[in-house]
């Protein structure tokens, strides 16, 4: 049991989500007659959903601080249009247009942050206003007509990594190199963590578990490398995917390993307590909102780069896709809970459903229904898990003796043995 835990990690929920994703991928692969796990389809899946996943990175941080950002779609559309217009009408070179877009994104974020952090208007309302303002803005600016973006940007949204060198393996060498680096880094981090823990005198660690874990994850990474590398010549792991991976790593580190990240969770978990611990709640609110719009800008740019033009309806309803990804990833509406990694898995589950249902020829109508049900099921699963180990509602109402006895017992031992965090079954 313990070894199994050490192989798959203690986060039962995250493991379940990864498992669900794998099952979905395999299931669709079979159901679609082998069309799911093909290099082309996986490249499309990543490139086509990178923008939603980027939004979700920012969104999980906003949701962790207990707010929500409804404006991200509008902001993405607005920024995309700014990029297109600055290139067409102001003759900005592509890099200047891109930079303009990012600056506009940060400025919009500061605007939202100002209203939330300084004035105290809830994020829901601030960004509902932003949603209208910037949706109107994009239609206004564009005169309701699509505007082409500089073709150089196309690489960002739909490009592939270069082919170089002879291919003995018949894989794209850029992808191969990335894959090998990823496996090497993973191996190094696992082994060094293990050594640290041993050096710190932790007991009960099992080196075999580390090796099994390494081999499993290594095999998955190798397979992914093969999958993305073995596509049609000229294709590889897509550039937007690379941007996404880069952002995921950065934001994972920011949220899990920096003081700012820690404060995000503190503010979301208990605002008063955080303030009493010396955390500046206003600062956290401001920067999280600002960051959200920055990422929305990036997502918008990636999207118009892929679409080759910016349209007046770009970004419509994207916020809902991003929010769904965050909640499937296990975040809590009340704040304080949610991680970038789990959100990415949530987003990938949605993307896989979309792609798989396309491949099976299921219509948009039914796809929407299925996605809605999956969202509900994922959150229900969470809620159910949280209720485990506590007296049930009926137990409370009728004064269930069983729970009363067990709880009084545990208080006799002081300090009481901590309740297992509901994951003992994993």
């Amino acid at each position: 049991m313990n070894v199994v835990k050490q192989i798959f990690g203690t986060d039962f929920r995250q493991f379940t989500m990864v498992f669900a994703l794998v099952v979905l991928l395999l299931g669709f692969h079979i159901a679609s007659g082998g069309n799911m796990l093909t290099p082309g389809n996986m490249q499309n899946l990543i490139a086509g959903n990178a923008y939603v996943l980027i939004l979700a990175i920012g969104m999980v941080m906003v949701i962790v601080i207990g707010h929500i950002d409804l404006s991200v779609g509008s902001v993405a559309g607005f920024v995309g249009m700014c990029v297109a217009l600055s290139a067409r009408d102001l003759s900005f070179p592509w890099w200047a247009a891109l930079l303009t877009g990012l600056v506009v994104g940060v400025a919009i974020g500061a605007w939202h942050g100002f209203w939330l952090a300084k004035i105290g208007i809830p994020g829901f309302i601030t960004t509902l206003a932003g949603m209208m303002i910037f949706r109107g803005g994009v239609i206004w600016l564009s005169g309701s007509v699509s505007v082409p973006v500089p073709p150089e940007l196309n690489v960002l949204g739909a490009g592939y990594l270069p082919e170089w060198g002879p291919a003995f393996t018949n894989l794209n060498n850029s992808t191969l190199l990335l894959g090998i680096l990823a496996i090497a880094f993973y191996a190094w981090s696992q082994i060094s963590t293990y050594r640290q823990r041993v050096a710190d005198g932790e007991t009960g660690l099992n080196f075999t578990a580390v090796i099994i874990r390494l081999v499993l994850v290594g095999a998955v990474l190798a397979y992914v490398t093969f999958l993305f590398g073995s596509g049609r010549p000229g294709t590889s792991f897509p550039v937007p995917g690379l941007v996404l991976v880069f952002l995921v790593i950065i934001y994972h580190v920011i949220t899990q390993r920096t003081t700012f990240g820690r404060h995000i969770y503190a503010v979301g978990g208990n605002k008063q307590a955080a303030a009493l611990s010396g955390v500046s709640v206003a600062k956290v609110h401001f920067f999280v909102m600002m960051n959200m719009s920055f990422l929305a800008a990036l997502a918008g740019i990636l999207f118009v780069a892929r679409a080759t033009s910016a349209g007046p309806t770009d970004g419509n309803m994207w916020e809902l896709d991003a929010i769904a990804a965050v909640f499937i990833g296990g975040a809590a509406v009340s704040g304080g809970i949610g991680t970038v990694a789990a959100t990415m898995i949530g987003g990938l589950v949605m993307a896989t459903l979309n792609s798989g249902l396309f491949l099976m020829g299921v219509g948009q109508d039914k796809t929407q229904v299925i996605k809605g049900l999956v969202l509900l099921a994922a959150v229900a699963f969470d809620v159910y898990n949280k209720q485990q180990g506590r007296p049930s509602i009926t137990g409370r109402l009728f004064g269930d003796r069983r729970t009363s006895e067990s709880t009084t017992d545990s208080t006799k031992v002081a300090p009481a043995a901590p309740a297992a965090p509901g994951t003992a079954e994993s």
Binding site: Q196, D200, V253, R257, T258, T259, G261, R262, H263, Y265, A266, G268, G269, N270, Q272, A273, A274, L276, S277, G278, V279, G336, I337, P391, R396, L397, G399, T403, S404, T407, T408, S410, T411, K412, A414, P415, A416, P418, A419, A420, P421
Partner: protein
């Protein structure tokens, strides 16, 4: 006046809130290495004083001097007092439930190496700190999985991580069960052995007696006295006298006591568990009666379990009922919902008017009919003229001072708000009326009015239960008094035999653990 052993001196501290002098020229000295207890009635100003000391109320918002370790301090926020070595642990714990023990302990003071949090070092130091407070738990465990007692210890570990030299604990055992409380007091003694000075605010005299080296009593925002004591040999009577030492004048209307009526409500063996703290009994085997025409007082300090008792009786709207029976007119009844309770002619006027008693957006007439809407409904619709008539009736009978019944309740004074709430609960025509702190936040003149109303209601044949922590009030209007301490009924006395000292002793002493 200058004590060479003093680590902290607070001199002439005065703190004003709009219209209230919360602290009035308070002076106290704490000696190095002491456990210094601060006692006082609810609202005496203890917590305000500690908030001044810890920088929650920054320098400039009060007058007076704080001298800590020989230097005058001007704290502008919690951070600056913490960096001086003064750490406060608030009554409501300041922990983030979703974060791990390690993360909570270093929250706001993260251990950073190269821009990233050094989790390894943090975990290592966390283990040391946990060992110092005697907790054997996984430092990576989320705080939400810990019991309240363990969380309290984590708070102390957090304080220790900040190189604390003066630790302030605001009612540290209020939320703890007996074993955890004992554990905590032991730890405080241990810290004292390591040279850490503590200030402890507490109501529980037996705790103060057990551990403290010095006591300061505060009453009505003033220091009454400060003196050294020897742990284990504390004169509790002296503390009690100092806490209540205020003269009784005729702030209470004359009333003929009435204790001879038939029994309306009887409670036997009432036992209720805290909804969030497993194992903590907020009502522990409580039994009492109330008769027709009688005003029964429940005296107890905040946190003693008075409100919990009332609310658990009132349709089980609080806690988890474990055992005990409720009889009305000798018949056992089970009230599972507030609707049941109202139907059986019980009414409960909550202590927190603004949070539980009123919808501040409503008008007077909407409020008055709100607990018995059915009576003004005709054919599924609210009958506006009936609603007005009812509201006008109570406006006159309760002498509610207002320009009209269409006025928002938020615009009324505290006393008139309380009358509106009373009207709301009189409209269902209850037989048993439970009033929880009926005069809190009300000025003296309005209190007199409320007392008169209470007496009139009793004379009409209702059983009135008054819950209060103000002893003069209890003594002034009640015919018979129960005292509550830590969820138990610790005494029953008729008014004729009651005085403040006796009551305070029973209110601060758990049965069987008297010193």
């Amino acid at each position: 006046m200058v004590d060479p052993h003093a680590v902290l001196e607070m001199r002439n501290i005065t703190k004003l809130f709009p219209g209230v002098r919360a602290l009035d020229d308070v002076t106290m000295t704490v000696r190095r290495g002491d456990i210094h207890a601060i006692c006082g009635e609810n609202g005496a100003g203890k917590s305000t004083l500690m908030k001044v000391l810890s920088g929650v109320y920054p320098h400039g918002t009060y007058s007076g001097q704080i001298v800590f370790e020989g230097e005058e301090m001007a704290f502008k926020d919690i951070k600056s007092s913490e960096s001086a070595g003064i750490v406060i642990i608030h009554q409501e714990l300041a922990l983030i439930p979703e974060l791990s023990v390690t993360e909570n302990i270093f929250l706001g003071n993260e251990i950073v190496a190269g821009g990233l949090i050094d989790r390894r070092e943090a975990r290592r130091r966390c283990r040391d700190l946990l060992a110092r407070v005697g907790l054997d738990i996984d430092p990576d465990m989320a705080v939400k999985y810990l019991g309240v007692g363990q969380q309290q210890l984590v708070e102390i570990a957090k304080a220790l991580s900040k190189n604390v030299r003066l630790l302030i604990l605001d009612e540290p055992t209020a939320a703890l069960n007996e074993d955890d409380s004992e554990n905590l007091l032991l730890l405080m003694k241990g810290l004292k052995g390591r040279g850490i000075t503590s200030i402890m605010i507490s109501h529980k005299l037996n705790e103060i007696a057990a551990v403290s080296d010095a006591v300061t009593v505060i009453r009505d925002g003033r220091t009454v006295e400060t003196y050294a004591v020897e742990a284990g040999h504390v004169d509790e009577d002296r503390i009690i006298r100092a806490m209540v030492g205020r003269s009784l004048d005729n702030r209470y209307p004359e009333h003929e006591p009435n204790t001879g009526g038939e029994t309306i409500i009887e409670v036997k063996g009432w036992t209720v568990e805290h909804p969030n703290v497993p194992g903590k009994l907020v009502c522990d085997d409580e039994s009492f009666v109330a008769r027709r025409g009688e005003i029964v007082g429940f005296a107890g300090l905040m946190g003693a379990g008075r409100t919990e008792l009332a609310r658990s009786l009132f349709g089980r709207s609080y806690g988890i009922h474990r055992s005990g029976q409720l009889f009305l007119h000798g018949q056992p009844v089970v009230l599972n919902t507030v609707r049941d309770a109202i139907r059986h002619r019980l009414a409960y006027v909550s202590e927190d008017r603004k949070l539980l008693g009123l919808n501040l957006l409503d008008t007077i007439k909407q409020t008055i009919v709100s607990a018995n809407l059915g009576a003004v409904v005709r054919r599924g619709l609210i009958d506006g003229s009936k609603e007005r008539a009812v509201a006008e009736r109570y406006r006159t009978s309760l002498r509610i001072k207002t320009p009209g019944i269409d006025v928002g309740v938020a615009t009324l004074s505290g006393g008139n708000q309380q009358k509106v709430v009373l009207a709301k609960w009189l409209f269902p025509d209850p037989e048993v009326l439970i009033l929880d702190e009926p005069t809190r936040g009300i000025d003296v003149g309005a209190k007199f009015e409320i007392y008169k109303l209470i007496q009139e209601l009793a004379d009409q044949g209702k059983a009135v239960i008054v819950i209060s922590s103000e002893l003069p009030e209890i003594l002034g209007i009640c015919d018979r008094i129960y005292t509550i301490c830590e969820g138990r009924i610790t005494g029953e006395v008729p008014r004729s035999e009651a005085d403040q000292e006796t009551l305070m002793r029973m209110m601060t002493t758990t049965v069987g653990s008297a010193a």
